[in-house]
Symmetry: C2
C-alpha cells in the first residue's frame, strides 16, 4: 500500500506521519511506501519519501502523480485566519490545489486500471455557521461563514462526487480545534486552548480569555491522527453519495474551561484555581466559549473516537512518552 | 452599465440576450454595453458585442476581463446529462471555468477600484437530492446526487464567499426545468415536457411517458429570463453571507400533466384528451413526475415570479408574438 500525507510538515500532519511510520500499516495492510509532501519538511525518519514544494506547482503535482498513492491523507491547507487575510492564497491552495490533487489521483488510478484511491480529507467544523447550530450533527446544513470553511466545503462536495462516480474513495473529516499546539506565538486567537495546557503542566500562571464555564470541543493531536488513519479503513454505508454522506464531524470531549483546568491540576499536581486568572473577553468567548453539544453518533458508529477521558486527552496532548507506552497500538 | 451574458447562444441565454437588448436597461439603469459570450453565437442583433469561444480558454477570459462588466449573467454550462456522461468536461466548464470567471470579475473590479460586479448565476434544482425532499425550501440542505449539481453547488458556495468579502455581488438562482425547448431531438429525457406543448399547439397526437397525475414544476423560458434580469437588481437581506443566503429556488407553477394538457387544449382549441395517450414509464415518472410542493416564499418576497397562470405559462412558452404585445414591459 502506497501512502501519501500532504501537509506533513504541519502540526497534525507531522504527528500523523510519525504514527504511520511507527505502525507501518493501515488497518491490516502493510505500508510499502510512505511519502510526505509539504513546502518545508525538515528532517524525516529514514524510509519516508519526501516531496518538498507547493502542491500548486505543476512539478510537485507531477511527483504526486508518479507516486501513485493508494491512500492519500490530504491535510495541506492555509489555516483559517491566514485564509481570511489572503483569500487569493486560500483559493490557490485550499481550493484549486485540492481540486487538482483529487483530479490527479483519480486520473492516475484510472490510467493504471487501479481501484479508486482512498482520500482522507481534513475538512473543518468551520463549514458550519457561526454561531454553531445547537446541536451540531453531520447532517446540519453547512453554512460556512468564512473563506476557509467555504473552500473546504466546496472540496468536500467535489470529493463526494468523485466518490459517487467510483473514481476516488473520499472520506472528509470535519476537524475541530486540536491541542496542544507548540507554545510558539501563532497569532491564532484559539492558541489559548493549547497555552493553558502548557502553562499548567509547567506550573506557571495563566490568564484565560474565556470564563470558567466556557465550553469547547477538545481533541488531542494524537487522537486526531489516529482518527485520520482509521478513516482510511472504516466502512461507510454504501447508500448516499452526496457530500453530507461522505463527511463526518469527529466525536469530541465537550469540556468547560473549569473542567479542563481541574483535569490539568490533578494530572500534573498543580493548583489550577491558584494559577489561572479568568478575564473573559466577550469576543473570544463568543467564538471559542459557546460550543454546543455535538451529535456524533454517526462518526462513533464508524469507529471514530474522542480521547475517552479528560485526563487521557491531557496526557495524549502533552506527553511525548505516551506513544512509547504503546498507547497507539491499543487502537488499530 | 456594462452587461455580459455567458452561454448566450443557449436556450435560455438567447432569450435573455434578446430581452436585455429589447429593454436596453436593467431596473432603471441603462445598458451602455451588452456583450454575449458562447462557443457559437450565430448572428446577433446590431449593437451586441460578441465573444465567441470557450470560457476555459485564456484568451476568452482575457476578453471578458477587458470588457469589465458591471453585471454578468453566468449561464454557460455543460447540461446535466452531458456532465454526467463526461465529468472531466463538467469539471473544466461547470467548475473551473466558473471559478475562474468569478476570480477574473472580482480581480478586475478590484483593480479598477469599481464596486463589486453583480453576478447572476444560473444554478439548478439539481443541487437537491433525488428524490426531491418534500417540501423543497431554499434552506433545504443541498445533497447533489449528480456531477452537474455538485459542481453548481461548489460554485454557489465560492460565489457566496466572494460576496461576503465584498468582491462580487452574487445571486444564485436554482433553475427548474424550463419550457418550451425547440422541438429538435435533444436526448434529454425531460424533452417530453416541451414536446407535449409543441404537439398540442400543432394539434398533433402525443405519447406521454408520465401519467395524467404526474406533477412537475413549470416555468417558461421568457419568465425565467425575466427572473434572471430581476435577480440583478433585487435587494437581498444584508444578513447572512453563506451560500444558502445567496441562493434561491424560483417560484414555479406546480401542475399535473392533466392540468397542463387541459390548459393547452383550451388555449389552442384542441382536444387534449383525444390527442394525448398516457403510457407512464416508471423510471421517467420517478424523476419527472413526483415534484413536491415548493416553499418559494423567500424568492417571492424578493420579487421573483412564476408564470402567473397555466395559460400565461403556455402562451409565454410558445407564443413568439407575446413579446411584441408588450408583455415584457409589464414587469420591470
Amino acid at each position: 500500500m502506497r501512502v501519501l500525507v500532504t501537509g506533513a510538515g504541519g502540526f497534525i500532519g507531522a504527528i500523523l506521519l510519525r504514527l504511520l511510520h511507527a505502525r507501518q500499516r493501515i488497518g491490516n495492510r502493510p505500508i510499502a511506501l510512505l511519502a510526505a509532501c509539504d513546502q518545508r519538511l525538515g528532517e524525516l525518519p529514514a524510509g519516508i519519501a519526501a516531496i518538498e514544494g507547493d502542491l500548486g506547482e505543476a512539478q510537485v503535482m507531477e511527483r504526486v502523480a508518479a507516486l501513485a498513492p493508494d491512500v492519500c491523507f490530504h491535510l495541506a491547507a492555509v489555516p483559517g485566519g491566514a485564509a481570511e487575510a489572503d483569500p487569493a492564497l486560500s483559493r490557490r491552495v485550499n481550493l484549486h490545489a485540492s481540486l487538482d490533487l483529487f483530479e490527479t489521483l483519480a486520473n492516475g488510478a484510472a490510467r493504471r486500471g487501479a481501484g479508486p484511491p482512498v482520500v482522507v480529507y481534513a475538512s473543518t467544523i468551520a463549514v458550519y455557521g457561526h454561531p454553531l447550530p445547537d446541536p451540531v450533527r453531520t447532517d446540519t446544513p453547512a453554512r460556512p461563514p468564512m473563506t476557509y470553511g467555504a473552500h473546504k466545503l466546496a472540496c468536500e462536495i467535489v470529493l463526494a462526487d468523485f466518490t459517487r462516480r467510483g473514481l476516488l474513495d473520499g472520506r472528509s473529516l470535519r476537524l475541530p480545534g486540536i491541542v496542544a499546539r507548540p507554545r510558539a506565538p501563532s497569532g491564532l486567537v484559539s492558541a489559548f486552548m493549547s497555552d493553558v495546557m502548557h502553562a499548567l503542566k509547567a506550573g506557571e500562571p495563566f490568564t484565560c480569555p474565556v470564563g470558567p464555564s466556557a465550553t469547547a470541543w477538545w481533541m488531542s493531536a494524537r487522537r486526531c491522527a489516529q482518527n485520520l488513519v482509521h478513516a482510511a479503513v472504516m466502512v461507510p454505508a454504501a447508500s448516499g453519495a452526496d457530500a453530507a454522506s461522505r463527511a463526518w464531524v469527529l466525536p469530541v470531549l465537550r469540556l468547560s474551561m473549569e473542567e479542563l483546568v481541574g483535569t490539568l491540576s490533578s494530572v500534573y499536581g498543580v493548583d489550577g484555581r491558584q494559577l489561572v486568572r479568568y478575564t473573559p473577553q466577550p469576543a473570544v468567548e463568543a467564538v471559542f466559549g459557546r460550543y454546543p453539544p455535538l451529535d456524533d453518533r454517526a462518526a462513533r458508529a464508524l469507529g471514530l473516537r474522542d480521547d475517552g477521558t479528560p485526563s487521557a486527552l491531557v496526557q495524549r496532548a502533552l506527553d511525548a512518552g505516551f506513544e512509547a507506552a504503546g498507547e497507539d497500538d491499543a487502537w488499530r
